[in-house]
Symmetry: C2
Subunit: 218 residues, 2 copies
């Protein structure tokens, strides 16, 4: 019997990220009609250890069969439930510039159930224009439109200088989950979940490793 709805299971960030990896791997395996997969093979594909895979899954229950492995479709379905991706999420994009447009054009999000229903900007030339089937709304109508459209997540693609201001408005409108692309440290109340993508940080990470890598064996 799966031991769900227990006390305060504290799941680590790394475990959640790995669940995303497992989910992606299982989706591929399902397409290939593979019926079961062992922790060993799943670990190999994602460059992890078999124990790591089993431990991660064990936080949520016992999904495998000893001697056999995990049933691909069933495990995929269970992870979808855990991640909350067995449903549709309505999303609003704020800022339809370079990165905002690229994200709106990206059809994969929609396939995964992340539906961009609204896009906002404050540029009069953009408001009212058609972006991949979506009419750009005026940022001033945001609070009302977010509520009317049952938006639960917001993606922020505005200049860093206005990002905190916009976040405050988004929070005031009752949104609890924000994905931010502006390279700035944003402040939100504790009940609002904020994740930031920072591409410069990744480039700096590469810069660090290239700069500090062990010199090639002499």
């Amino acid at each position: 019997m799966p031991k769900k709805s227990e006390g305060k299971r504290k799941i680590s960030e790394s475990t959640i990220k790995r669940l995303s990896l497992y989910y992606r791997a299982l989706s591929l395996l399902e397409k290939e009609n593979q019926e079961t997969i062992s922790s060993k093979e799943l670990a190999r594909r994602e460059k992890l250890t078999p124990a790591q895979v089993r431990k991660d899954l064990s936080f949520f229950g016992s999904f495998g069969t000893r001697g056999l492995g995990y049933p691909v479709s069933e495990l995929k379905q269970r992870i979808a439930e855990i991640l909350g991706v067995n449903r549709v999420w309505n999303i609003a994009m704020i800022g339809v510039g370079n990165i905002g447009s690229a994200l709106v054009s990206y059809k994969e999000f929609q396939k995964q159930g992340f539906i961009i229903k609204l896009v906002f900007d404050n540029d009069q030339r953009k408001i009212g224009s058609n972006h991949k089937g979506l009419i750009v709304s005026d940022i001033r109508d945001m609070p009302r439109l977010l509520r009317e459209n049952h938006i639960e997540m917001v993606v922020l693609a505005v200049p860093a200088i206005v990002a905190q201001y916009i976040v405050d408005e988004v929070v005031a409108a009752g949104i609890k989950a924000i994905l931010n692309f502006a390279p700035i440290n944003l402040h939100v109340p504790p009940d609002v979940y904020l994740r930031s993508e920072n591409m410069s940080m990744e480039l700096e990470y590469l810069s660090f490793t290239l700069t500090n890598r062990r010199p090639p064996a002499e």
Copy 2:
């Protein structure tokens, strides 16, 4: 005396990422003409603990003055050296679609010393066209052009299905650092540094937290 060039100092991924945060914070402080900053204040700005800040910096030397704090400009300069961003890095973008174009248009990378010198595609309609002052090159000329232009990092913005193939070519051309945007697990030799940005994973993380958050106090 700073204890650099010691044995096998193993710096953790989290420490390196925080160095990026400190660097960004120090750049802002420098603009505001602030001369010194304490670990306490730096920690407050980046939502960390003062001990964390001091410990991170202590891996690389002693940069502060007891009773006073750290000299802003000097510390910024030292972190730039540690991260390897006190210089210019030549970058090639592969794939000039939605996301590739957005990144090429982004002027901040250039300001930080990450210079996109070449862009590649395999679409005949795109090859030869002008993208923000850069002529799109034919992917078939990649190995030669990467070498001729002293490219040291490659950003990958091609469809997932061709990503492994392109990575193999990039590795064969001698590149040791790759930033990948395709949502797929790429395999590279151990001396090649690969980082991946996965936006779906961040959305799934938000989905997880919204789904599993403690219910509002009753």
